[in-house]
Symmetry: C2
């Protein structure tokens, strides 16, 4: 007989992008209570140093611990790439899941040729988190990455598809997809290594072609959360979990931009403003 | 006989964009000692709330006061728009200059028709800082603004000109320049209300046409700094002023992106990392 654990799951992102992970988690686990923290006061993380990102992630974790979370989901690729090891070292008793490993695993499962492209923020590309995670699962994989920090702004501005967006995507991906589509060097899998990027999925797919599988780590991360909570007997069954939103800046903007990443309506009044910058 | 004051001028920006103001100040006042602070740990400000921007600006000012600055230049449109009044109220004894008023004055001087367009970040557009500043000088001006937060990412990524950049600019400015060029409603002046935007000057000019005067507040702000220091007898004559760089994150990235906005080479070793987030 399985146990039940009604403590909430904490999800942390630099801003709104991680709402795609929240969305997938809610669909996979409708009984879970979820607390989402977006560090909108310092967003984006993608162009910041690992040092700062780690510090911000630790402050976010401290804020979420006040809600007695049973699991932390680092729902931001940049934060997971830079800070997951440090968070796990600081809080060995807490169950922490990042978006990188599930994404890498999904890419390895889906590729036929082992030629895998990764697009992410500047920071995630620089610390080669996906590269390492994929190679640890598939040592002979051929992984190439490209920084696409611009896509974050596009996604937030609502520029998601159309000719102009495709032209921007094409230029940004030219380093990864500069071979002919029938060439052996053309990747057959592309990891969307930033939670903002699925918003541009249609445009990206049109540019790289249908033959390339796009890996969106939101869905795969939610599946991992479900599996791990199940294995540990820590699920909260049912279908009436609550969702609570915390941000470090601008509840109004958060509520306004959220629909680009989240399928339920969020009112600004539902979004609580908290300060985490003073945590040491 | 004029006095001399060798105390440094402090310049504050959210990141690298304000280097265009530093550049102009250095050219106008080669004898002045200059301390530039970029709050790269929390950049960009353009999508953040006035509350947070004001807090960050106050922390930056506190950091710069330790260097015994004689004047503060708020070299960031977003920070000047959101926080200048609060800074002046908190530090009435300090001489503080923002980039908004010089930009508004330049626009009013240059327009023939009174039809003025302003492009800026989301935050600057929302608090209507340029609109108010221009109307206070020219009450019958017709001012329209558009948020172009995307241009910040373009400028930092080095996407400054070419067909694709012009297509992005055209779409972003369509609300301001949707009339025929010979229409009476076509602006004759466009304020580049964000220190990042002059990097896209060529593309912007090609889109709106040569008949539109582009106002870059970097140069006009430097002229105001020079005039006010002269009037107050606070100049430091000569031509061998030092420049010192402080950032709150990523000295390497700062040094790497700086050439897009600053004409002298900056080595990462010259850039000092400081923490201002703990200031209350």
């Amino acid at each position: 007989m399985s146990q039940s654990d009604s403590r909430p799951i904490g999800l942390f992102d630099s801003g709104v992008g991680g709402l795609s992970v929240l969305n997938a988690t809610r669909l996979a686990l409708p009984g879970e209570n979820l607390i989402y923290l977006g560090d909108t006061a310092r967003v984006p993380y993608g162009t910041k140093s690992s040092l700062s990102i780690t510090r911000y992630a630790e402050q976010a974790l401290k804020a979420l611990l006040r809600y007695d979370i049973k699991t932390l989901v680092v729902a931001c690729n940049t934060a997971a790439a830079a800070a997951l090891d440090a968070l796990q070292a600081s809080y060995p008793e807490l169950h922490i899941i990042g978006v990188i490993d599930p994404g890498a695993r999904a890419a390895v499962n889906v590729t036929r040729t082992g030629k895998i492209g990764v697009i992410a923020t500047e920071s995630t590309v620089n610390n080669q988190a996906y590269q390492k995670a994929i190679l640890s699962l598939m040592p002979d994989a051929n992984v190439k990455s490209a920084g696409c920090s611009l896509f974050v702004a596009l996604a937030e501005e609502g520029w998601h598809e159309g000719e102009l967006v495709e032209a921007i995507v094409k230029r940004s991906l030219s380093g990864l997809f500069d071979h002919y589509r029938d060439s052996d060097d053309y990747p057959d899998t592309l990891v969307l290594g930033c939670t903002h990027f699925p918003a541009l999925k249609t445009a990206i797919s049109r540019v790289v072609g249908d033959s390339v599988s796009l890996v969106d780590s939101a869905v795969t991360t939610a599946a991992v959360v479900k599996k791990q909570l199940t294995d540990r007997g820590m699920l909260n069954p049912g279908s009436d979990g609550y969702v609570r939103f915390l941000v470090t800046d601008g509840p109004e903007r958060f509520a306004r931009v959220a629909p680009r990443f989240y399928s339920e309506t969020i009112e600004a009044e539902q979004v609580e403003l908290i300060d985490i910058q003073h945590f040491v």
